[in-house]
């Protein structure tokens, strides 16, 4: 089965990672794989917000931004 390779930045952990997912994977599949509750983040690709049911493309650069901040 073809794979989709995406690079991911998780701002809360200040962490970069490269992940391989099934070729028809959606943003929500990526979040599930990372164990991230979708309620707690917004996701961007090329500095544009994307929805959880959007398909990921090969070589996407994804940023996962925490909605939690402050004190």
């Amino acid at each position: 089965m073809n794979k989709t390779k995406v690079s991911v930045f998780i701002d809360k952990e200040n962490k970069n990672a490269v992940l391989e997912l099934d070729s028809d994977s959606l943003v929500m599949d990526l979040l599930r794989k990372l164990g991230i509750n979708p309620v707690t983040v917004i996701v961007s690709r090329n500095n544009e917000l994307i929805l959880e049911d959007e398909k990921l493309n090969n070589n996407d650069e994804i940023r996962i931004l925490s909605v939690i901040s402050g004190g």
């Binding site: 309620v39 917004i42 917000l49 959880e52 931004l65 925490s66 909605v67 939690i68 402050g70």
Partner: protein, 300 residues
Amino acid sequence: MELYSGEKLCKSHFIGYFENKVFKTIRQFELLDKEENLGVALSGGKDSLSVLRILNKLSLENPKININAIAVDEGISNYRDKTLEKAREFCGKNKIKLHIFSYKEEFGLTLDEMLKIFDVKPCTICGIFRRYLLNKKSKELKLTKLATGHNLDDECQSIFMNQIKNNISASARLGPKAGLTHDKKFVQRIKPLYLCTEKEVTAYAFINGLLDEFNECPNASKSFRAQVRDIVNDLEQKFPGTKYSVVNSFLQTLPLLKQKFKNEAIKACNRCNEPSANDACNACVYLERLKNRIIKLNQN
């Protein structure tokens, strides 16, 4: 951005949806009068910058609404200095008056310094001093109201926290217009983002370039609120709409709660004259304890 209804909005429609929701909240709960010398509590984070952006828009269309931003510098290294920089930048660019008051100048110590000598939960002492300064300085600046960036998530967490702690009189002080009754010792606090989720606020801030690198208060993870926040977010994922349901059902009981507790006396602190439930306010009590702690440390 996807809404609870399942409706998906492009960037410009989402901005319209979000701002209209805030304006509707202001009208629905009568948060503003026709003329206001309005303060906006500004931390430099996404919530306070978003509420300031929208209220500033309103002010530009309505010259009788005057805007002042008020920031409190608690002295939390590697955190507040960064968010205050963002606050200065935004206010400078939008020609908004920014007043900054610091713990160091007002109390003699930064929060970091206080925590080194005092064994107390950071969020407890920080919240007491911050509320104290915001109210005191708002009165000195003759502000008619003080808007904060509290959102639906914050309110939902507070409702849960008060239930868990059996602190219902604290819940009676919640709502889009905080407090129990009008009292000249208090500057009325209002929450224009009351019905906006934290996720919506973050999306709005992101689209408008207000979202900086991730920056959470280093003390936040230790707090009771942070634990409740995680529970509420788990519930929201399993049962979408939980936060709206909790806050909407709370709003139906809020008038009864405010009625029940409206006669709780608000005294004036016998030391600083700020509002207090007891003879001395919490800020004065903690300042006294800090002073005694410093004396003891100097003696050893």
